[in-house]
């Protein structure tokens, strides 16, 4: 659950980090291809040359998954209240407004209802840019409400994850969000309503060890880091370098923990087909 260790390099989406001075061109960090902003958007923020999937946020993902003009957001302004008055080198009370200012988001997840290829769906999508996509009370509550909406309206639920884990600054409250979201999923499952989990880069810690791994179907974007413990911690534990590809989507597929690896451009179609196969 060590989102913070990586946050300096990861706090901004990879696309922003690699932007050229005039802001119109981006360099792919895998194959060095220079890509124009328009082209990147057309390719759903994947590299047209090597298929590298850049990190994106809820704004981009909602656009990819929902039919145009059908998205309605809920609980947009829900925010953390710093229940522990947590202070490390900085006050959590100050971290929150700083993160809000920097990202234009209120916390690390947004959710709403809308149509996906004309089918009603509930979608929650995490934002890694907001304090490393960490899960505290707000993330747990909003994910919980999204699941409840699906349960009450008999509508399939889709959650797009990207997270460094639980948010330390809310202590045990953060831990309990794992139980809370899983409990609500159990209720959704008992009602026979589908839940599709989409795992994107990176999904680790408490989020992986709760709703992200609990999809009726787990889909992963190519090359995403997915795991419980962070690679650094594991390396420390075993005192050896980790094998190439360790904890990547392809590794999880091989070991049986995701059902499919799906290119971002095919995500909407794949989820739609799955839902039609599962519900009709």
């Amino acid at each position: 659950m060590a989102w913070f260790r990586r946050s300096k390099e990861n706090i901004a989406p990879a696309t922003a980090k690699k932007e050229m001075p005039d802001g119109m061109w981006t360099k792919c960090d895998k194959c060095d291809e220079i890509i124009h902003k328009m082209e990147l958007e057309q390719h759903m923020y994947t590299c047209p040359k090597c298929d590298r999937h850049f990190r994106i946020g809820s704004k981009e993902y909602f656009k990819i998954l929902f039919d145009d003009g059908t998205f309605k957001e809920y609980d947009h302004k829900m925010r953390s209240v710093d229940p522990l008055k947590f202070k490390d080198t900085k006050r959590y009370r100050e971290r929150i407004p700083d993160a809000i200012k920097k990202t234009g988001l209120y916390d690390a997840v947004r959710w709403g209802t809308g149509k996906m290829n004309e089918r009603n769906v509930v979608i929650a999508c995490m934002d890694f840019a907001f304090i490393g996509g960490s899960m505290g009370s707000v993330v747990g509550e909003k994910i919980g409400r999204a699941i409840d909406r699906g349960w009450k309206t008999k509508t399939p639920v889709i959650i797009v994850s990207s997270s460094g884990g639980a948010r330390m600054m809310e202590g045990a409250y953060s831990l309990m969000q794992m139980a809370k979201t899983s409990a609500k999923l159990a209720r959704l499952g008992d009602a026979g309503i589908p839940f599709i989990s989409i795992l994107t880069d990176p999904t680790t810690g408490g989020v992986t060890a709760s709703y992200s791994m609990l999809g009726d179907v787990n889909l992963a974007e190519p090359g995403a880091l997915i795991g419980f413990a962070g690679p650094r911690v594991i390396k420390q534990t075993i005192g050896k370098d980790l094998p190439p590809g360790f904890q990547r989507s392809e590794f999880l597929l091989e070991h049986g923990f995701v059902d499919m690896i799906v290119h971002r451009k095919e995500m909407k179609g794949t989820v739609s087909t799955l839902l039609s196969l599962m519900t009709q």
Partner: protein, 316 residues
């Protein structure tokens, strides 16, 4: 085993040692009187030290190597305990023990993390850090309890789920997540007790239930104070501050509405009197079982989901 004394306990042990020496001369009425006086002082000192413990000191007590562990509680509280092994898929994880037992009149499924007391037993138990097969063994036996309508009692005491390469290969995250999901709607009562260390998802992986009890000197949080220090302060030296900031003690969690009851420990901590600690816990468990057995199972599951749904603080 050599007595382990924590720094803040030293004044108490010094006085106790003095009393021990004086006992040799207890025939002398003056000395006998003196002993009585010192014993009173020991008691007072103990009360004053233990009523003012810092959060970090409580963390140290939770990790005390002489503290009762899961098997100690099982042996002291129950009869006919039969340990059952294996997840039926990969292997038997020694960091989690489980089996049917009798708690007075109740037949129950006991499940808990198990630490070792010395290097050898700690290696055998992997320091109480389960691999995925440990969580899957626990789930298999919970399902068995459900099949035969027996309540489940889980005892939490782990420094965390094992962060190893093979643990990842075998799906540590999935194993924990699956338990959270299945425990949420398991059709028998579940009582959870944090008896020592409740470190993060590794603890919660057997920690969803109808009633959550916590021993007086145990801790429960999203991360250990050391790891929190190393991440947020970028140094291992701020564990005391991290423990304070995390608010991870039993009274903290009671205030946060995350646990239901604090189970008192014998004066000076459970390590000083295993039998008494177990007797207090057993009394509490019996009362809980009696209460839970009166609730219809559908209602119980509804309340369980509601209970966890309410956890968290936010605005808007």
């Amino acid at each position: 085993m050599a007595k382990v004394t924590l720094e803040f306990e030293k004044p108490i042990f010094e006085l106790e040692q003095k009393v021990e020496e004086m006992r040799k001369y207890a025939d002398n009425p003056d000395i006998a009187q003196e002993i009585e006086k010192i014993e009173k002082r020991v008691n007072q000192l103990q009360r004053s030290i233990f009523s003012g413990l810092t959060r970090w000191q409580k963390v140290q007590l939770a990790r005390h190597p002489e503290r009762p562990y899961t098997l100690d509680y099982i042996n002291l509280m129950t009869t006919d305990f039969l340990e059952l092994h294996g997840d039926r898929t990969f292997k038997d994880d020694k960091a989690i023990v489980a089996g049917f037992a009798k708690l007075d009149g109740h037949r129950v499924m006991m499940i808990g993390h198990q630490k070792g007391r010395d290097t050898k037993s700690n290696l055998y138990r992997n320091f109480g850090m389960p691999n995925p097969e440990g969580y899957r063994k626990a789930l298999r036996l919970m399902k068995l309890a459900e099949k035969f309508k027996k309540p489940v009692i889980t005892l939490l005491d782990t420094p965390g789920a094992f962060p190893g390469l093979e643990a990842e290969e075998r799906g540590q995250a999935e194993a924990i997540a699956r338990n959270l999901y299945e425990m949420s709607h398991l059709k028998v009562p579940i009582i959870v007790v944090i008896i020592g260390e409740g470190a993060s998802g590794g603890a919660l992986g057997i920690g969803v239930g109808d009633r959550i009890l916590m021993l007086e000197y145990s801790w429960y949080s999203v991360i250990s104070p050391e790891s929190c220090s190393s991440i947020l302060w970028r140094s291992w030296d701020y564990k005391e501050q991290a423990a304070e900031a995390l608010q991870l003690t039993a009274p903290d969690l009671k205030k946060q509405g995350i646990i239901d009851e604090i189970v008192p420990e014998p004066l000076g901590g459970a390590q000083r009197d295993h039998a008494k600690a177990a007797a207090i816990l057993k009394g509490q468990l019996l009362a809980e079982l009696k209460h839970l057995s009166k609730i219809k199972i559908d209602k119980l599951i509804e309340k369980r989901i509601e209970k966890f749904s309410k956890m968290g603080e936010f605005s808007g």
